[in-house]
């Protein structure tokens, strides 16, 4: 096990910058998730940690060793690829034992490592099968087994669940998390799925376009997003965002472009005249109150009710714990918990902190 330090790391493909200066400190034993939209450079960053891509600038340290010029085979890390990259001509057992064989481990030693790993992953019955004879979920486990057997300093995962169906994805999520709790090996996990990030991570790194938008614990990001990108990316349904300004007559009120009046936690006379974005999570909206929403669609899921409607011209999503009895086209009175709202600068998208 080891910590991983990423210091001002950059990557160019030719002249094209893909990673534009990234700093992350990963503690020993931490489960860190890199999340961001497709093409933002998550895989590239992971592959640089693995040693599969050259590092154009900056420094990556594993433990206290700078690994910029260390070849992948000497970095003592294991990686689970998105397509699993199982060796098709080797059985499950041989796939898992490959790294040990290369190290010249004895047969009994190999058996002592492969058997328990297979047992943990429920693969004991499949050790003699070839990858082609396995289902997607089983292949995914073999890929993890291959990593576990290594007992490496760091686990790297590149979108390991994206080829699985929705149900399996949810159960594998739990499994990977409990595996991490059991092995406590430092883990860096890449995904574009914010739910995966929220449910599994100790620490989330939100990336966009080769830069880090915010680093923090899942609920930190949810409760205090640094900017509009993180606010919109984390959480589903996404945070509602309304453009407008603080009312100059009464600075405890926010007035949207359409003239809808919304409450602020406390008066902000310092912000009058600035173009702002008012953010509220769907569950920050409660039934009954002075604001009325025109209802478009109601989606009951049983445990909660989602209502999509309009506030002025802006689309609004609400999630209620209770069941609602409104119909499309009706006006629904709601109130907004001012403590659960966020203000962002419309120009640069940054969160406006309490002044």
């Amino acid at each position: 096990m080891a910590s991983v330090d990423i210091v001002d790391v950059r990557k160019y493909f030719g002249a094209h910058p893909v990673i534009k200066g990234v700093d992350v400190q990963i503690e020993d034993g931490e489960f860190v998730i890199l999340v961001g939209p497709s093409g933002c450079g998550k895989s590239t960053l992971l592959r640089m940690i693995a040693g599969l891509e050259h590092i154009s600038g900056g420094e990556i340290r594993i433990g206290d060793r700078v690994v910029n010029d260390v070849p992948p085979k000497d970095r003592d890390i294991a990686m689970v690829f998105q397509n699993y990259a199982l060796y098709p001509h080797m059985t499950v057992a041989d796939n898992m034992a490959f790294s040990l064989k290369l190290k010249g481990a004895s047969r009994s030693e190999i058996e002592d490592r492969v058997k328990p790993a297979a047992a943990i992953l429920g693969l004991s019955a499949y050790l003699d099968r070839f990858p082609r004879q396995l289902s997607g979920g089983q292949r995914q486990r073999v890929a993890m087994g291959r990593a576990i057997v290594r007992d490496p300093q760091v686990f790297l995962f590149d979108e390991p669940l994206s080829n699985l169906d929705a149900k399996l994805r949810v159960s594998m999520r739990t499994e990977i998390k409990s595996l991490h709790q059991r092995l406590t090996t430092t883990t860096i996990y890449v995904t574009h799925d914010q739910i995966e990030a929220m449910t599994m991570a100790d620490k989330i790194v939100v990336m966009q376009d080769g830069r880090i938008e915010q680093i923090g614990a899942p609920l930190e990001l949810y409760d205090r997003p640094d900017n509009l990108f993180v606010a919109g990316f984390i959480g589903s349904p996404a945070m509602n965002m309304l453009h407008g300004r603080v009312d100059s007559a009464d600075p405890s009120r926010f007035v949207t472009r359409d003239g809808v009046v919304l409450p602020l936690g406390r008066p902000r006379p310092d912000l009058t005249g600035r173009d702002l974005v008012y953010g509220m999570r769907p569950e920050a909206i409660q039934l009954g109150g002075s604001v009325s929403i025109q209802v478009d669609v109601i989606e009951p899921t049983g445990s909660e009710s989602q209502v999509i409607g309009r506030l002025g011209a802006a689309e609004i999503a609400c999630v209620f714990r209770e069941r609602v009895s409104v119909r499309p086209g009706e006006m629904m009175p709601v109130s907004i918990d001012p403590a659960a709202t966020h203000l962002f600068d419309a120009a640069d998208g940054r969160r406006i902190t309490a002044a």
């Binding site: 085979k73 890390i77 990686m79 690829f81 060796y87 098709p88 490959f98 070839f130 990858p131 291959r146």
Partner: protein, 314 residues
């Protein structure tokens, strides 16, 4: 009809065609018929005729009579024939091994990220697209006893004092024709294996590298095993082409000096056409068949899907 099938009461003729059009096997047979006839006429007939000629004493311009195994008995005691068998085996074995090793090596180089990659890939095909007779003529000049460019360069460099007698000395001649054959055969092997290499996902090499494999270990445990199905096909073809080679030898040496480079194919032609002994020539050609069958059997087993290739998709 003892078995009561639900045949329609209409005329049996109509129901025959109807049943034929419904039956997968019947239709398949029908569609294969033209191809089968074609094969029969253009493959089996000449082959059959060749085999038949081998049992006769036919000469050019004189129809022969059946003489049983006499041609083969004669060949059994013919040292030149055995020399040609030896030559053919050596020629095929050495040239095929060289083509495989050099072709694989080239394929691996071309599979790396090189500048001007497509240019090199096109260049590599040149020896293959040039007509054999043309390239053989070029080699004829390269191997000329007086004007050889190789001798010229080596002499200028002071490495040798007299021109090399490429095609006049038995050992030199054998090596020279093998070299020419290798030069001509490499593109086929290299390009086919390159296609094979490109079907191996890069992530397998990356996974192996992370697992701690050196580049040689990656080659041994990833590249080579995953390439074996293609190697089996390519090398079977390569062996068949080499074993039946004719043009190169005929242009370069005509089998000389003193039969040192006679292959079974060239000897068969030599005896049958210029020599006029069609029956004996045919017998030599027929004697090649067991070797070719062996190669085909080898490929048949080599080509069978291995256990790891069976089952669902990737």
């Amino acid at each position: 009809m003892s078995v009561s099938t639900a045949s329609p009461p209409a005329g049996t003729k109509a129901s025959f065609f109807e049943r034929l059009s419904q039956s997968r096997n019947g239709l398949g047979l029908l569609f294969m018929l033209p191809a089968a006839l074609f094969l029969l006429c253009f493959l089996t007939y000449p082959l059959g005729l060749g085999v038949w000629l081998g049992f006769t004493d036919t000469m050019i311009g004189r129809p022969g009579i059946f003489i049983g195994l006499e041609n083969y008995e004669y060949l059994w005691h013919d040292r030149v024939f055995w020399m040609s068998v030896f030559n053919t085996v050596v020629y095929t074995a050495v040239a095929s091994v060289l083509k495989f090793v050099l072709g694989l090596w080239l394929a691996i180089i071309l599979n790396e990220h090189l500048p001007f990659k497509t240019f090199f890939r096109a260049i590599i095909l040149l020896p293959w697209v040039v007509p054999t007779v043309l390239s053989a003529l070029a080699f004829w000049w390269i191997y000329d006893s007086q004007f050889s460019i190789i001798s010229f360069v080596l002499m200028k460099a002071g490495l040798i004092s007299a021109p090399i007698n490429f095609l006049g000395d038995p050992t030199n001649a054998r090596l020279s024709v093998i070299a020419a054959n290798v030069w001509r055969g490499i593109p086929f092997v290299a390009i086919s294996l390159l296609a094979g290499l490109q079907t191996i996902p890069a992530s397998l090499h990356e996974a192996a590298a992370l697992d701690g494999a050196t580049s040689w270990q990656r080659f041994r445990s990833i590249t080579l095993p995953l390439l074996t199905p293609i190697i089996a096909v390519v090398m079977t073809f390569s062996v068949l082409f080499t074993f039946t080679d004719f043009q190169l030898i005929y242009v370069l040496t005509k089998g000389g000096p003193v039969n040192a480079t006679h292959l079974m194919a060239t000897l068969s032609f030599q005896r049958g056409i210029p020599g006029g002994a069609l029956g004996e020539g045919a017998a030599i050609a027929v004697a090649m068949v067991p070797f070719l069958l062996a190669a085909i059997l080898f490929s048949f087993f080599g080509l069978q899907r291995r256990r790891w290739q069976q089952g669902g998709s990737d």
